[in-house]
């Protein structure tokens, strides 16, 4: 089983992306999606040395809902700042967010989430993967930003990834 399907998550993602790409769920397309989902991870196996282990898949839905809501809020906030507050009055700071995530994939998801959510862009990762450098557009209290990232996103990602 491990040899036939080396990366089950990747296989499912490829099959779903293929079906969305052809915009159809006809039996022929489902069959082709299954073949692609099995073949592509098999032939690109050497690029994926570690297997991603998702411990609690249902928590992903929860995570996506939280992030989608935050993206909506962050868009309105950034639009407000751009229209009415931009210029030297923005108190922009760089903060270090210490992180404790087990897998490079989890760190990638976290940095991506930081960039897409309220007023923060992830600028760099520590060489040992234990901290993220975050640029805040307008922060009164940098500690609150760190706390929000750790409590809202990192805690949930820890539950999802083993």
């Amino acid at each position: 089983m491990r040899r036939l399907v080396p990366h089950p998550v990747l296989s499912v993602v490829i099959a779903v992306v293929w079906l969305a790409l052809v915009n159809s769920a006809a039996p022929g397309h489902v069959l082709l999606a299954a073949v692609l989902g099995l073949a592509i991870p098999h032939y690109s196996n050497r690029y994926w040395p570690d297997q991603v282990v998702i411990r609690r898949p249902l928590r992903i839905v929860d995570y996506i809902a939280v992030v989608a809501w935050d993206i909506l809020v962050s868009n309105v906030q950034v639009a407000w700042l751009v229209l009415f507050r931009s210029g030297p009055r923005l108190r922009s700071v760089l903060v270090t967010v210490p992180i404790d995530l087990p897998h490079p994939t989890a760190i990638t998801v976290l940095t991506g989430t930081i960039t897409m959510t309220p007023g923060t862009v992830s600028a760099d990762v520590a060489a040992d993967g234990r901290a993220v450098l975050v640029h805040c557009l307008d922060a009164d209290d940098p500690d609150a930003v760190v706390h929000q990232i750790k409590d809202r996103y990192e805690r949930r990602l820890k539950e999802i990834f083993a």
Binding site: L21, R46, N75, V78, D124, A127
Partner: protein, 133 residues
């Protein structure tokens, strides 16, 4: 019914266009590169998101079958926008020594951008594939 669909689609397109305009305005108006990164990564995601939802509703109503192409565009955008912003920020920090002095120091080893390249002769060089398992 068709009128309701048209009103919803039109409203979503106007909202999308507004946020895309604000994103572009921010790119032009904000004072430095790090702050400019915020406008295209955020304001434009909602702009493009609203436009894509409008497209989904319009084509689902017009053809009678669910249109999910647009979700893929949104997924690819959400995957690529943070990576692009991250790489631009890293390149900016590498090219500006004054900014490097202002960085807070991380716990443990330094930031990945400023760390010296690994000198292990066994390590695969960039662009080379690792050996097959």
């Amino acid at each position: 019914m068709a009128t309701v669909v048209e009103i919803v689609v039109a409203a979503l397109i106007v909202i999308g266009a507004f946020f895309l305009l604000v994103g572009s305005l921010g790119l032009a108006k904000l004072p430095d590169l790090m702050r400019r990164l915020h406008a295209p990564t955020k304001a434009t995601t909602l702009g493009i998101g609203a436009t894509l939802v409008a497209s989904m509703i319009a084509f689902t109503a017009a053809t009678g079958s669910l249109s999910v192409h647009e979700l893929l565009i949104a997924v690819f955008l959400f995957l690529t926008a943070p990576v692009t912003a991250h790489m631009i920020a890293k390149a900016h920090m590498l090219r500006h020594p004054a900014l490097q002095q202002q960085l807070p120091s991380p716990p443990g080893t330094g930031w990945a951008t400023l760390a010296p390249a690994p000198v292990d002769p066994e390590a695969p060089r960039t662009g080379e594939m690792p050996p097959a398992p």
